[in-house]
């Protein structure tokens, strides 16, 4: 015994590039799959969600205006940072889910690969989802996909890192900003992922991460008038109906996915802009 006191990490929220505690002052215990205490996490309230949306809204025009190349580079940078901390993330996943060391390391590598996969899409989206349309008249007519705005994300409960990355990466790559709710039972990986994001040149407010209870926050995600889209892949299927109903007021785009590598995950949170351009002589 060295007698040294271990310095424990305080897991906090990630809003606007900073790591604040929840305004509510609440926390909840995160335990391993065997029930041992691991850490206290912030139990975010709807006011933390509100603050995160304000940050995401403010950051959105700047992020969407960055070139596709630049957005791709930053996503790739996130992958680089994550790769370098593989062991730490693998260990954290094992502690939370009880997965074997090998399985956890595989989840981290899959997450890195997925980030790189989505990063590559940034400058290919207009070719994939855009078109030149034949119209009767002296016009060029183009349709180009553009970012939707602020998108909420409710990450899956299992696969604390891979599930989280698969939810936020496709939202961010097109120029949306995101407010993401980490896995309620295993949020530590997502909060540690915030440390990776914070050192990856992602502008403040582009990705905001909350930890808390789905049942408490999901309805507020759905009804918030300043959230334009919502990924509910992490919610149990029997709750999808109620959430979609709550999101009707501002015609929120609400989607859920099962596959991780899926261009549809990007396109679900984009909208088409059609431009008519007169043909000169």
């Amino acid at each position: 015994m060295s007698g040294r006191l271990e310095v424990m990490k305080t897991y906090k929220l990630y809003i606007n590039g900073a790591f604040p505690r929840t305004e509510s002052g609440r926390s909840y215990e995160i335990t391993s799959n065997k029930g041992e205490f691991l850490a206290n996490a912030c139990l975010a309230s709807r006011k933390d969600l509100r603050d995160a949306v304000v940050a995401a809204r403010a950051a959105q025009p700047g992020w969407a205006k960055a070139t596709a190349f630049n957005r791709g580079q930053i996503m790739y940078r996130i992958a680089e940072m994550l790769e370098g901390r593989s062991d730490q993330f693998a260990q954290e996943i094992s502690l939370q889910t009880g997965a074997s060391a090998k399985e956890s390391l595989q989840e981290v590598s899959d997450s890195v690969d997925l980030l790189v996969w989505y990063a590559g899409w940034s400058d290919k989206l207009p070719s994939l989802a855009g078109s030149t349309n034949p119209v009767s008249g002296p016009f060029y007519n183009f349709t180009v996909p553009e970012a939707l705005g602020v998108v909420g994300a409710i990450a899956p409960i299992d696969k604390p890192l891979l599930g989280f990355v698969a939810t936020v990466a496709p939202i961010l790559v097109s120029g949306n900003t995101a407010v993401a709710l980490a896995s309620s039972t295993a949020p530590l990986s997502a909060i540690s992922f915030a440390e990776v994001v914070a050192t990856s040149d992602l502008p403040n407010g582009v990705l905001n991460i909350l930890s808390g209870q789905q049942s408490e926050l999901a309805p507020w995600f759905a009804s918030h008038m300043d959230i334009d889209g919502l990924d509910i892949s992490g919610l149990p299927i029997d709750q999808h109906g109620a959430i979609k109903e709550a999101g009707v007021e501002n015609l929120k785009r609400i989607s859920a996915f099962t596959k991780t590598t899926e261009p549809g995950r990007i396109l679900a949170f984009m909208e088409a802009k059609t431009v008519w351009h007169p043909i000169g002589n």
């Binding site: 509100r50 809204r57 507020w220 009804s223 918030h224 008038m225 300043d226 501002n250």
Partner: protein
């Protein structure tokens, strides 16, 4: 002029009066303001506070780029802050530059907002650096064009170099121009007065000279309406009422952008000057962006979900 019987209008009496004012305990003022800022106002009280704050807003545009169209749009918004909800009260006043007063007044009359006053910034706003003749004419012009409230700036240079009587006489002269045609708000520009002692002195100086309102700032200088400054000014009007039985209004301006900020101001008013001041005739908030945030908070309270800036106008 009697100046409430407290001074006789001479340099020496003014000096002696201001000199006997007690100094401000700066640490204490900051601590008290910070303590009051922690009050939490919820549900029905919050709904009341939001509507009260809306009715106290002096909706302001003071930009070099102001156009008649922008001023007219501002006036329409002042009268009907939320066109989809007629239960929202109109704001306290519209505050514009001198040359826009006529346009604002005309537009307000044309939409039936006859009771909504136009306030004009005056006396070479925001610096106050012009000759007395210009300042008097500036004020006269605004009143003739239809301003019912004059927001004048004091000469901070004269105040800081100790020529208090100059500042005093200037306010008295503008007060005479206003007569009973217009309310007079005196802008102290507290961000340039350096100390809270000076804020207290300038507040009394303005009140003695005949101000109906004392206002913190032009909005062009930071810091503007900080809580300790507003606290000291509210104490000044409270103590002045005890001396004279006359209630002088207070108008913080600049830097109040969110509903939370506005409600903190209302708490300060209630706890310092008293509930009599929770009234648009005695307390105003000079702001532009604040109104949208108040409206969004009001929507949140009535609809039960968070509002979006997409549903309020762009100023």
């Amino acid at each position: 002029m009697s100046f409430y019987g407290l001074v006789d209008g001479s340099d020496s009496s003014l000096r002696n009066y201001l000199k006997q004012l007690p100094g401000v305990d700066q640490v204490g003022a900051e601590a008290r303001a910070a303590m009051l800022a922690t009050r939490s106002i919820k549900t029905t009280s919050k709904a009341w506070a939001i509507d009260t704050a809306i009715s106290m807003v002096d909706l302001t545009t003071l930009e070099g780029a102001d156009t008649p169209g922008k001023v007219q749009a501002l006036c329409s918004k002042a009268f009907r802050p939320d066109p989809t909800d007629l239960t929202v009260p109109h704001v306290g006043a519209v505050c514009v530059y001198n040359d826009m007063v006529g346009i604002a007044r005309q537009h307000l009359d044309s939409i039936g907002a006859l009771q909504l006053p136009v306030a004009a910034v005056s006396t070479a706003f925001p610096s106050g650096r012009a000759s007395m003749a210009v300042k008097l004419q500036d004020t006269e012009d605004a009143i003739v064009a239809g301003a019912a409230e004059i927001d004048m700036v004091i000469d901070r240079g004269a105040f800081l170099s100790g020529r208090l009587i100059e500042v005093f006489e200037e306010i008295v002269a503008i007060r005479e121009v206003c007569g009973d045609r217009a309310h007079l708000k005196v802008i102290l520009e507290t961000g340039e007065l350096v100390t809270l002692d000076n804020v207290r002195k300038a507040s009394y100086l303005a009140m003695l000279a005949g101000a109906d309102f004392i206002k913190t700032s032009t909005g062009k200088v930071a810091p503007a309406a900080t809580a300790p400054v507003v606290l000291v000014m509210l104490e000044a009007v409270r103590d002045f009422y005890d001396l004279t039985k006359v209630r002088i209004g207070v108008k913080p301006a600049g830097g109040i952008r969110t509903t939370k900020d506005a409600i903190k101001q209302l708490v300060l008013v209630n706890e310092t000057a008293g509930p009599e001041w929770l009234n648009p005739s005695l307390f105003r908030i000079g702001a532009s962006a604040l109104l949208n945030d108040l409206l969004m908070q009001r929507m949140k309270m009535s609809d039960g979900y968070y509002a979006s800036p997409n549903y309020v106008t762009i100023d």
